[in-house]
Symmetry: C2
Subunit: 408 residues, 2 copies
């Protein structure tokens, strides 16, 4: 049983760091706001007398010893970074839940056989730096440390430089230094399926696969007035064509496929100049890896077709590729059992449409997730909302499942 | 006969202020670089012993007395501001030509019956602040001073604030304080027509009309992964639709109509967030005002249709409306006569597809323009190019026409 008041107070405390005027959260990875929330997080861990460890990629761990120090530990947590003008629950709710779970164990003097580690992963969001789930990806061995250090944001600033600047380039190796028993993460659903089904808690069975990429169209800057239509190579017209094509893609692939262009950069971006360079992103997802593979190819074909139609050049680059994954029966069962125990909890199974750090953890140990319902499915927006009641129900399922894993 | 070496040296001198690494020019209106070029310009006027006057909208005038001080003056000049990463000729060539003309009069001890005034107009480009030709528009009475003071750039900074900051909020009234005889402006063509016709100098007969506007589409930010395609209101998809429609507009209106979307702003502009707010501009031009009026209506209809298709909100605002104009016979004839006098000058008549400060001057006095050929029609780009030979030929036509107007 968690302390609801402290839970809500802690959520509000974290939401104040990087708060926006419309009650959203703007706490991009490795910015000053991220440094501030990390300092806050380390303080919470220290107050709990946990052993704090920061790895070479800025992932922050806090360890609570078990009665059998040789037993493989259970890892719990999520991420504290946010989208630009995002919501206050995404990731943050998972970290606060893990923290409250440890605080409750402490309050009630509960000891567990296995050690328990709480973690805050670096750059889960993937907005400022791609790929998303970067810290967990490096730690689990999906990405090479050196390559990820060199990823840059739009201003050309590199991850390593920023880790150093904010003081979170740690010394502990960014990899599992011992075998882990299991990983459990709570997150908001970020989609409308739980709500549509009348449920408030999700037992997550796996995560869809996705392809992220970027196309740069290069035409020629020229004057919008005296330049005849047949004398133009307009990079923005090609980009518009591509955006429309990505919007049409899902309907031609799978039933549940989604496709989005989220970011556009136009140069020189002046009302009376034909744009010469436009960069657009793509993000296409599906539970079936074959569909995702097809989508990645189609994105390339659509970029080529748009460039040809407008007579401009183009260059495509991959930003991320994540295979769909399934969670282990053991961890899914632990979540199911915890939900079953709670009389008033309305839980269903579902697959996640968002990527999570849990994706990468599946290669390290048994992994599971609990979802809290999202009002109207809204996320990556200040409109993101889950009632405190629903947060607490999901958190209680999480706590009981984590306790079970740490005990068995 | 102008001093070619000094002419080229002066062009190079001005091009150094706000130079870009690719030999372009980045000197947006009322920025620090604009302050620097203004200071330089005032120095040149002072060296020529001209009477310098700065008006309430930052337009800079220098007056050379005539033998009959009561005769109505001839006004000559253009603008020193540039597009973002634009070229070094656009506008600048016109100011330097006017300067060299006055220097030559001085060198050769030529007196004119009419006073001659040289001018550098504020914010001709219209990139940072709309409308374009803002300083000449205020001075000629097309726009109200107070309304233009309050126009803001994308960062919300107002014109008046910037004029004050860079020290060019002058005291002289921003209006003609006496009757003017005529206005003459040299400019690069910025289009491919002179070159296509084998000419190097243009006798400009008038300027096309245009409509500028802005549409803001407002949908809902949401997560690109778990949000089903039927649960989206994507502002960027609507904007892409609009961009494509503006590209198609010209073909359905007039033969020479041009239509461009030059600028796009996307919020929150993150790879995995459905965009909730996207602003796009339009710029449509034609020599026939009825076609321009139709284009402005069509832009609104296309915005509405795009918004409806995607289920988003939209808001349209006008940024500028310029009627097509014809220059007075007297000034056009002065340019024609000057071109005819030069044996090796290949001049033809044409209408300008770009807006110019001359547009507004037609309401004040007889107005004319001389064009210098643009290589491959390129402009608003570092690729903008006119050979020094072609610059000098056009400048000589300008000088002789101006001398004629100042004498008669
Ligand atoms: N959960 C979440 O928002 N993760 C960011 C990566 C993604 O876009 O799925
Ligand atoms: N000449 C020129 O580039 N003027 C700027 C206004 C326009 O776009 O026509």
């Amino acid at each position: 049983q968690l302390d609801t008041d402290r839970f809500v107070a802690t959520m509000e405390e974290q939401a104040a760091i990087g708060a926006t005027p419309d009650d959203g959260l703007h706490r991009l990875a490795l910015t000053d706001a991220d440094k501030e929330i990390r300092d806050w997080f380390v303080d919470q861990l220290t107050d709990l007398n946990l052993t704090v460890r920061i790895d070479e990629f800025g992932n922050i761990f806090g360890r609570r010893q078990g009665t059998n120090p040789d037993a493989n530990p259970v890892l719990i947590g999520s991420h504290l970074d946010s989208q630009p003008n995002g919501g206050i629950y995404d990731g943050q709710l998972g970290v606060v839940t893990a923290l409250e779970f440890l605080r409750t164990l402490e309050d009630e003097g509960i000891e567990t056989r296995r050690p328990i580690e709480i973690v805050n992963w670096t750059n889960e969001e993937g907005s400022r730096f791609q790929p998303a789930m970067q810290g967990s990806g490096v730690w689990a061995g999906a990405h090479a440390l050196e390559a990820e250090y060199q990823k840059t944001d739009r201003a050309g600033t590199a991850v390593r430089e920023e880790l150093e600047r904010i003081g979170y380039l740690g010394e502990s190796p960014a990899e599992p230094t011992e075998p882990y028993d299991s990983y459990l993460e709570l997150h908001i659903e970020q989609g409308p399926r739980l709500e549509r089904a009348g449920a408030n808690v999700g037992i997550v069975t796996g995560i869809v696969g996705f392809t992220w990429g970027e196309v740069t169209f290069t035409g020629e800057a020229d004057h919008s007035g005296p330049t005849p239509m047949d004398h133009r190579r307009d990079a923005l017209v090609a980009a518009a064509d591509f955006i429309t094509a990505v919007r049409r893609l899902p309907g031609t692939l799978g039933e549940a496929t989604v496709g989005t262009v989220g970011a556009v950069d136009v140069s020189p971006n002046s009302i009376n100049v034909i744009p010469n360079e436009v960069t657009v992103t793509w993000d296409v997802r599906d539970g079936d890896d074959a569909v995702v593979e097809q989508a990645a190819q189609r994105a390339r074909q659509e970029a080529a077709a748009a460039a040809t139609r407008e007579g401009v050049e183009y260059e495509v680059s991959d930003r991320m590729r994540a295979p769909s994954i399934s969670f282990a029966d053991r961890t899914v069962s632990a979540v199911t059992a915890a939900a079953d125990e709670m009389a008033d909890c309305r839980a269903i199974e579902l697959e996640s449409g968002a990527g999570h750090d849990a994706t990468h953890l599946t290669s390290v140990c048994d992994t599971g997730m609990v979802f809290a319902v999202s009002e109207d499915g809204k996320s990556h927006s200040p409109a993101e909302y889950t009632s405190w009641d629903d947060c607490c129900q999901a958190a209680t399922v999480f706590a009981n499942a984590a306790l079970q894993l740490a005990t068995e």
